[in-house]
Symmetry: C2
Subunit: 284 residues, 2 copies
C-alpha cells in the first residue's frame, strides 16, 4: 500500500484550521531563511502557504550571507526574534549557508525549547528524549502518524534505520526508539554493501533519511517490508527519495517521494506551533 501523504496532511490541515479558528489569536511562526538556496526558499514557501491556509501568521526573515557573516551575528539576530512575545514558534531553515554550516548546532541552540517548532535544539531534543515534552521532532511525528493510521505495531519488529545519526531524521528517530526501548539497526551510506544488504533484507521496517537518490533498491528489501522514505534529494529539479519507487510493488507499506513524508512533515510543524502557542498563551 502506498501512503497518501498529501491526503493525511490535508486531514491534519483541516483539524489545525478548526483549532485556530476557535482561538482568540492566530499563532505566529517566524522562519529564518539565511542565504539563497533555491530548495530552501521553496520549502519555506510551502510552509508559508500551509500556514496561511490554516490561519496562522508566518513571518519570514530572509537574511543574506553578507548581513550575517558569522554565526555570532546570526545568533544575535535569532535571539532578538526569540524575545518578541508575539512569536509562538521559530524555525531556522536548514541547511545554513556553507560559511555558517559548521555552526549549525549553536545556531539551532539559540532557539529555546519553548519556541522550537522543529524540536532540533539540544534542549528540545533532550526534553523529548527524556519524555518530558510532547513536542516531537517533525520526522518522529510523521513516522508515528503513518504507523498509527496504518495500524503498524512496531513492537517485536526488526527496524533498520538508514542514516541513523542524521540531524533531521536519523537522530530524532533513534532517540524516539531508544526512549521507548525499541531496538534498531543503524546503518548509513558508508556501511559496506554486504552488511547493508544483510541488515536491510532482514528488516521488517526500513526507515531512511539520507538524501541520496536510489540508495535502496527493491532487491535489497524483503517482501512485505514497511518502507518509510524520509530522504529527499533533487536531481534536475525532480524531487527524489532514498528508495527506488519499485519498492512499492513488494512493500506492505511504502511512502513515495514526493507525496509521502514531505507533506505530512509540514503539517507536523504547525501541529507543534499550535502546541507551543497553547502552552505559552493558554488554549482558547
Amino acid at each position: 500500500m502506498i501512503v497518501g501523504g498529501k491526503a493525511i496532511a490535508e486531514e491534519i490541515r483541516f483539524e489545525l484550521k478548526n483549532e485556530i479558528q476557535a482561538r482568540e489569536h492566530a499563532p505566529r511562526l517566524d522562519i529564518i531563511l539565511a542565504g539563497d538556496d533555491p530548495a530552501s526558499a521553496a520549502y519555506v514557501k510551502r510552509k508559508q502557504v500551509f500556514g496561511k491556509s490554516i490561519g496562522a501568521e508566518v513571518v519570514v526573515h530572509e537574511t543574506s550571507e553578507d548581513a550575517y557573516p558569522d554565526s555570532i551575528a546570526l545568533i544575535a539576530f535569532i535571539k532578538d526574534i526569540v524575545q518578541n512575545p508575539a512569536t509562538d514558534g521559530i524555525i531556522v531553515q536548514l541547511p545554513l549557508p556553507e560559511s555558517l554550516r559548521t555552526h549549525t548546532r549553536s545556531v539551532l541552540d539559540a532557539v529555546p525549547p519553548e519556541k522550537d517548532v522543529d524540536c532540533l535544539s539540544s534542549g528540545a531534543l533532550e526534553r523529548f528524549a527524556s519524555r518530558e515534552s510532547d513536542i516531537r521532532p517533525p520526522s518522529v511525528g510523521v513516522v508515528d502518524e503513518i504507523f498509527r493510521r496504518h495500524s503498524v505495531d512496531i513492537r517485536g519488529k526488526k527496524i533498520a534505520l538508514v542514516g541513523a545519526t542524521g540531524g533531521l531524521v536519523g537522530r530524532p528517530l533513534a532517540l524516539w526508539f531508544s526512549s521507548r526501548g525499541i531496538p534498531f539497526s543503524a546503518v548509513n551510506t558508508k556501511t559496506p554493501p554486504v552488511q547493508m544488504r544483510e541488515i536491510l533484507k532482514n528488516a521488517d521496517i526500513v526507515i531512511s533519511g539520507v538524501g541520496k537518490a536510489g540508495l535502496i533498491t527493491a532487491d535489497m528489501v524483503k517482501a512485505g517490508v514497511i518502507a518509510i522514505d524520509a530522504g529527499t534529494s533533487s536531481s534536475f529539479g525532480t524531487l527524489r527519495g532514498d528508495m527506488d519507487p519499485a519498492i512499492a510493488l513488494k512493500a506492505e507499506l511504502f511512502t513515495p517521494v514526493p507525496g509521502g513524508v514531505g507533506p505530512i512533515t509540514v503539517a507536523m510543524l504547525f501541529r507543534n506551533l499550535l502546541a507551543l502557542a497553547n502552552k505559552s498563551k493558554g488554549s482558547p
Copy 2:
C-alpha cells in the same frame, strides 16, 4: 582473555609522562566539580593523581550547589575558566547536581572544542563525528585502544550497543561507528527482554554503557563474544559493571569492572589534554 585495563593505562601513562617531560610547559587541566557527590569526588581524585604522576597541572574548582544555584551562574563561572590562557583543557565532572541536571547540555557546551578534554560539547562531538578533529570522546579512545591492542577487526562483525543514546558512552560510540559506516544494533534497558536476548545472542561484539549492575548475564551472550563493559554503578561501595563477571569464562575478550575500561578512560583524558595543549601552544 581478560583485558588488563590497569596495565594498558600504565603504558599510556609512561608515554604521556615522557611527552610532557620533553615539553617546555606542563599542560594544565581544570576540573569543575559542582556539588558534593562522593563518587564524583573520587573520580576527580583519580584524575588528579594520574595528572600529577605524569607532570600535568590539575586544578580542581569545587563549587557548591549554593554558590551556583542556576546553570547561568555555573556557565559564567566556566566561561571565566575558559578565558584563562594558562588552561589547556577543561572537564566538567558529571553528573551535575540534581538541580542543574536538566541543563547538562548547555553547561557542557560552555566548554569550547579547543579546550574540551571530554569531547562532550556539541561542537566537539560534531567535529569528531565529521572526522574534522582527532580529539575523541574518551570512551571511543578506550574501545579503539582495546581493539587495537587485541587485534580486534570490527569490520563485518555484528555489534550490539547497549545504552546507545547515553551521553558518555553510547552516543559517542554510535557517532564513531556511524562516521566509519560500521553498523550496530542499538538496545537499552527498556528493550523487551526477548528482543534484547535475540540481539545480544547474535552479537560478535557487545558494548554496554548503561550503569546497571548485572544487566547482561552470561547466558545472554554467545561463546567467543568480545564484551566491553563501559558501564559502572556502585553498590555498597563496590564498583560494578553492566556485565556479569562470569561472561569472562565464555568471552574471547572481556573487560572487568573495576580494572577494565575505567583506568584507560583516565589515561585517554590526559592524551586529549596533551593533544589540545600541543594544538594551542605548539608541541615542543
